[in-house]
């Protein structure tokens, strides 16, 4: 038992505005420095670009003041900074692609997606007044999530790009539904687990110190495991499969505090991955490229060689500690430098110093999400915030780990940084949800007026009651509890 004395919570909107200025400065300075680095002159439209970004960020800030005044002050600036750095890098790669007559125009589209994402985030904040509303849609969310996951398999709208069947093309707009599926799944898990966590945690036999669940409680969990495996097998997408399964194991762990779930989850995934690596050549090729990237034979293999990975590593190496500077590197030599390998591009131009700062931004974002989960009072909100924060962290880990050859490379996008409409929109919705929950978590509890009860049995006049500090009134609450000691 411990007594916790929380400090006074400040709403922090002013702090947020200050940090937003910094974040916008980073975004705009990046854009300007790209122009300086490549052409030797600041891009002509930098004022308009700055005005547009500032408008979007300030609009979201005002929405927060209006609808979520106690939301966390750090989440929004960090998200804006990451998005801004990503935009500058995509613009920089665009210029390099244009110079080499490759398909370009990513920056404009990403800017458009940024605007759409911010508007959507604002809509989430305005329309969703209380995150607990989402709990009503627990099973709807499950069906939506499963539908989104299998959508790319539907003939006609599903599309296979580079061997992975994760795209859906509707009326000229391509999207990756799995990015949205992760939000729906987080909602489903939060709603399902908050109801069933006790049966999952307490019922069932104990084997080797691990509390195992009962078979009948496993049903929905096995469905989701099957779905994530189906993604792996049918859509040939290692990354999304890893992401969905990781989210699922993490939320089970948060809900039940049972290590057995982590062990079971890891065993299931390792088993699935080993089977997949031996059974499917494209997964096996990923492992090959991970373990022996510098073999000439593996390097030259196409598709599925390690050429992209190795070029990314060379890019990171040429960046060194402080980077080449905006516009001075050659990040465009890596295939997909603007989306999957944006981390390698940023590592080349900003160096280890800049990359670590960006990774710390993700750390801060995740920390705020987990802090929100600790602070919020309802179980559903705790699980949802914890799950969403974990998804951002895990996705970053999978991408950065893949690019830096810590784990096999998978095709996921870096949250908020990488080019990709679905990813950007989904991650801004996650940011909006975290802001909404953090507003609930940080809002001071409504003050309940204590009813004065007459003190029974204290006939002595108050003048006789001496107070140690000699002070009266509310400061008395700060006095430490009287120490009571045993005989020594």
């Amino acid at each position: 038992m411990a007594t916790v004395q929380p400090h006074q919570v400040r709403a922090g909107r002013g702090v947020e505005l200050g940090l937003l200025v910094l974040a916008l400065a980073i975004a705009v300075a990046g854009y300007a420095l790209v122009g300086l680095g490549i052409d030797g002159s600041v891009p002509a439209d930098v004022i308009g670009y700055a005005a547009g970004l500032t408008g979007l960020a300030v609009a979201l800030h005002l929405v927060l003041r209006w609808r979520a005044p106690y939301a966390d002050p750090v989440i929004l600036p960090v998200a804006v900074a990451l998005n801004g750095v990503g935009l500058a890098m995509i613009y920089r790669i665009d210029i390099a692609y244009e110079a080499r007559d490759k398909a370009a125009g990513f920056a404009e589209r990403q800017l458009g997606w940024t605007a759409i994402s911010v508007v959507l985030a604002a809509l989430v904040l305005v329309l969703l007044r209380d995150h607990r509303t989402l709990r009503r849609y627990t099973y709807t969310a499950m069906i939506v999530a499963l539908g989104l996951v299998v959508l790319p398999l539907v003939p006609g709208i599903g599309q296979s790009i580079n061997g992975a069947q994760i795209w859906v093309r509707l009326g000229g707009v391509g999207m990756q539904p799995a990015e949205f599926a992760k939000i729906a799944l987080a909602v489903f898990f939060a709603g399902y687990l908050v109801t069933h966590r006790d049966t999952l945690a307490l019922a069932g036999p104990k084997v080797l110190g691990l509390q195992l669940p009962r078979p009948r409680d496993l049903g929905p969990i096995l469905i989701v495991w099957g779905a994530s495996l189906a993604v792996l097998v049918l859509e040939r997408d290692l990354g999304t499969s890893l992401l969905l399964f990781g989210l699922f194991v993490a939320m089970l762990y948060i809900a039940t505090e049972r290590l057995s779930w982590v062990v079971i989850g890891l065993l299931l995934f390792v088993g699935g991955a080993v089977v997949a690596a031996t059974a499917f050549p494209h997964v096996g090729a990923r492992f090959d490229a991970w373990l022996h990237p510098f073999d000439q034979e593996v390097f030259d293999r196409f598709p599925g060689g390690s050429g992209q990975l190795v070029r990314g590593l060379f890019g990171l190496a040429s960046g060194g500690l402080f980077g080449t500077g905006w516009g001075a590197g050659r990040p465009d030599l890596v295939p997909y430098a603007e989306s999957d390998f944006v981390i390698a591009s940023l590592g080349e131009e900003l160096g280890l110093t800049g990359l670590l700062a960006l990774l710390l931004c993700y750390t801060i974002l995740t920390e705020r999400g987990l802090r929100t989960a600790i602070g919020v009072r309802d179980g559903f909100g705790k699980l949802l915030a914890g799950g969403l924060a974990f998804v951002v962290a895990f996705q970053t880990f999978v991408v950065v780990g893949g690019v830096t050859r810590l784990i096999p490379l998978t095709g996921l996008t870096t949250p908020l940084l990488a080019y990709g409409g679905s990813s950007l929109v989904a991650n801004w919705v996650i940011v909006a949800l975290l802001l909404r929950i953090s507003d609930e978590a940080r809002r001071p509890a409504p003050v309940v007026r204590a009813v004065l009860t007459p003190e029974v049995g204290t006939p002595v006049a108050s003048g006789a009651r001496a107070n140690g500090s000699g002070s009266a009134g509310p400061t008395g609450g700060d006095q430490p509890t009287e120490r009571i000691e045993g005989l020594s």
Binding site: P6, H7, I484, G486
Partner: protein, 179 residues
Amino acid sequence: MSELTITLLRLGYLALLWVLVLSAISVLRRDLYGTRITDRRRANRAAAAPPARPQPAEAVAAPAPAAPAPAPVRTPRSARSGSGPRKLVVTEGPLRGTIVPLGTAPVLIGRAPSCTLVLDDDYSSSRHARVFPQDGQWFVEDLGSTNGTFLADQRVDGPIPLPTGTPVRVGQSVLELQR
């Protein structure tokens, strides 16, 4: 543009990134260090130190009376230092061995969690008795308890002076002032 300017801009941008990170962290610092957590169990385990006497220490855990006195009266120095008693010791009962250091504040004894000394005793009332200093002298006073407070086998009615070393019976517990 000169090489120097480019280098400065390059490093300046990195510095700007870190300024954002560090200022965000400094905003969070309050969150990391601002909450004061008092582990009652540990505090009491340290307090109930003698291993020979495993006392139910939890029962002792009690915050000071919530409402401070509206008009505090300074006790003379002699009550705080010098010859006056320094501690209230439980000599019998389930809490035997517990010491309450005496300051200038009254000590409330009873079963209510708001008491200074919380007794886990069916024979005591929720707010049973009070020991308080006045004019350099400690007094004991019964707060209308069911089973009464006894000072050396004499039932306590009004506030009466409590000499050092005289046993006071509250329910099943016996307390006394010690130097």
